[in-house]
Amino acid sequence: MKLLSTKATCNSHGQDSSYFLGWQEYEKNPYDEVQNPKGIIQMGLAENQLSFDLLESWLAKNPDVAGFKRDGKSIFRELALFQDYHGLPSFKKALVDFMAEIRGNKVTFDPNHIVLTAGATSANETLMFCLAEQGEAFLLPTPYYPGFDRDLKWRTGVEIVPIQCTSTNNFQITESALQQAYEEAKNKNLKVKGVLVTNPSNPLGTTMSKSELNLLIDFIKDNKDMHLISDEIYSGTVFTSPSFISVMEILKERNDFKDFDADISERVHVVYSLSKDLGLPGFRVGAIYSENDMVVAAATKMSSFGLVSSQTQYLLSSMLGDKKFTKNYIFENQKRLKKRQKMLVNGLQKAGISCLETNNAGLFCWVDMRHLLNSNTFEAEMELWKKILFDVRLNISPGASCHCTEPGWFRVCFANMSEDTLNLAMKRLKDFVANSINGEGCSNNKKKTRSTQASRSFTKKSISNWVFRLSSRDHREQEER
């Protein structure tokens, strides 16, 4: 008899993918300005480290919160005992107000419709448990966050069917792609329970257009048991136009114009988190927002498996309840993100690399390295990724790990390191590309097709050339200048 469960012994946690392997390599040899200047620079982690000083200065001005005090009285006992899965009312109020502010107050949220969860990881899994049976499917536009394979599928048994998006229109969702995905699911005998999108998108770093959002709503409108989940965890990271439009805004619009089926609002759900916008992934603050009372009721009960620590709820209820602070934070944070993104884009340009021109949000750029591939294949992408990881020593995320249909795209993060480190990373990349142009055995021709066999042996040879070249002493010295 099998000792462990099937879930324990399969690998649908997805953590054997390259996305996580890159992390492992980084951990073995992490860059440090002083201790390990030749180490791997982490550019695969979508963290927001740009605005901690703003949080720290708020803390300095609000000592009571730190000491578990309210109006001078200790509330430690109260907090230590508070395990009500309805959440701290003051925190939920502060959270929904913050969410509204991020959306320019064009929509408001009812705190009674929010469910707190241990991070967006838990929120997404919980929604799957609530909305779909094992074996049913959700449609997701590609490329998508690699962690979805674990969060949406692993313990729930739900399937993901990709909506193939391409660079021809900057990876926007088209009606035909949506229909194609739906047909694919049907052919596989998978009942589709809905669509899940990330808006702003990870890994694209773009916000969805009004027409895309309307397309999605129209799609689920006609299929009465379908849901639309909008993962809006990057909503506060929009740093340039076009401004962020939440699915909730579209619903409100349609309601205002009476172009509305009353029940649609019951089938649209939003996921939020403070991990990206506030840069607090360690605090595990996630949320599900839904107008559907039954979803809220079920998800609330399920949140027992991953409640937010009461001390964290308390701290954040105070912080987010300070409207002066949140207004300034949102504004300043976006300003810094914009500046940092520009640095990355310029650095990439100097290396002759471009990224998605519509990038206006997120903590990363969706970078086009198709011209650096030996062939228009995922094998070539993997080779390039390994070179960049082991030789250039940058951990970036290959498009294949995000289920991108086109090889050659990479997600590169910019908000989780200092400016100096970013500059160094760009320099390393520039040198790498310069050498590749001068080097032998590298083809810039992305249109050439080769048989798999030939391309493998070819690239094998070119790898050893690169490795030899990049590990030579001369090259190292050049890099350090």
Partner: protein
Amino acid sequence: MSLGSESYQLLSKIATNDQHGENSPYFDGWKAYEKNPFHPRKNPQGVIQMGLAENQLCFDLIEEWIKNNPKASICTPEGVCKFRDIANFQDYHGLPEFTSAMAKFMSKVRGGRVRFDPNRILMSGGATGANELIMFCLADPGDAFLVPTPYYPGFVRDLCWRTKVQLIPVHCDSSNNFKITREALEVAYKKAQENNINVKGLIITNPSNPLGTTLDKETLKSLITFINEKTIHLVCDEIYAATVFTSPSYVSVSEVVQEMKCNLDLIHVIYSLSKDLGFPGFRVGIVYSYNDQVVNCGRKMSSFGLVSSQTQYMLASMLSDEKFVDKFLLESSRRLLKRHDKFTKGLEEVEISRFPSNAGLFCWMNLKKLLKEETIEEELKLWHVIINEVKLNVSPGSSFNCSEVGWFRVCFANIDDETVEIALQRIRAFVGKETKKKIEVKRWQPNLSLSFTSTRFDENVLSPHNHIIISPHSPLVRAT
């Protein structure tokens, strides 16, 4: 709003079935409390909450420590230099100082007789999350776990709801002090086999909720032998480990496996700080497994319920303060014993028997003599009387799947001394009234089947009805 059968297609079966257990009639007590909560000044006629197994006896010690250790918080001026590192830390291995402090603490709670490896510690969303996680790792939908009765009602949600694992009760009763016998295990196991149910393991709670007792070494050894023979898992929920307040001293499964031949791949411990330290709000659940594959897989699953890094950091500091921990464990034990003795003495005074206990935050009371008939219906009737007339929220044994009727779990560590006194007064009044109702009224009744660990009879006990002057409609004595 779309309701009815349409909604059921819209949501999953899990979302719409009752397996979360919250529609159970046993929540009536909570609802009564919530509608009318007791407060010594604002609502002295309200329902006293005695259905919540919380440990509120030692907050003063913790508060003092927090005051003296501002560096433990990442928000104070002394600690804010760590803010960004901690706020950013989401590694599912946990803060090394946290797992290391937890390992040391768990060892201390077991008298230093076992050592725990911090690398085997997995975080989860409270014991609730931990129990669910271990099921996801060990069992497939449809598989079963054996569980001795009576057991914590929340197990149905935690172990079964989303995992689709089933529970098979192993019947224990008072005829042999609720011992988990080899016989009872075999009966349950055989029954499962006959029904083609795949048993993946046995889950025990030690110290027991609701019994409040610890397992003796012999029993633990026999359980370990049993699971090894069947090659099934043993999950030991040890969340009450530090609530042991009197002898016999605590023996954990980790100790016993050191002394006997056992396939360690089958042994897993569930822990939490909700009961021992009184921190249910902080959501600190731990899965400790001796099985490498479970650790590996469970660690990835812990992503769904990591402990807030702010909390990890604070607890790492607190639990590695060995002087404080030693003092706390001693004092907590002492206060629990004191509270237990106060409450059980009160019960004795009205001849309510209870299961002798040495741990836990509650008392397992026997009210069989107050039942008209020994049926679950009568138990529930009595229970409603206790909630609505005596105004105490207690938990009926049937909610714990107890095979015998008449048992009730009463919590005593979540209220202050004053409230305990009021509760006892209400109980005295009620029992007096009930006893008067019986056809044969005896002034003095001998104690029932169970023996007490400490039997001190006050003079007053000899005439239990002396100070009960109540009208049937106001069983309350005013609170100061």
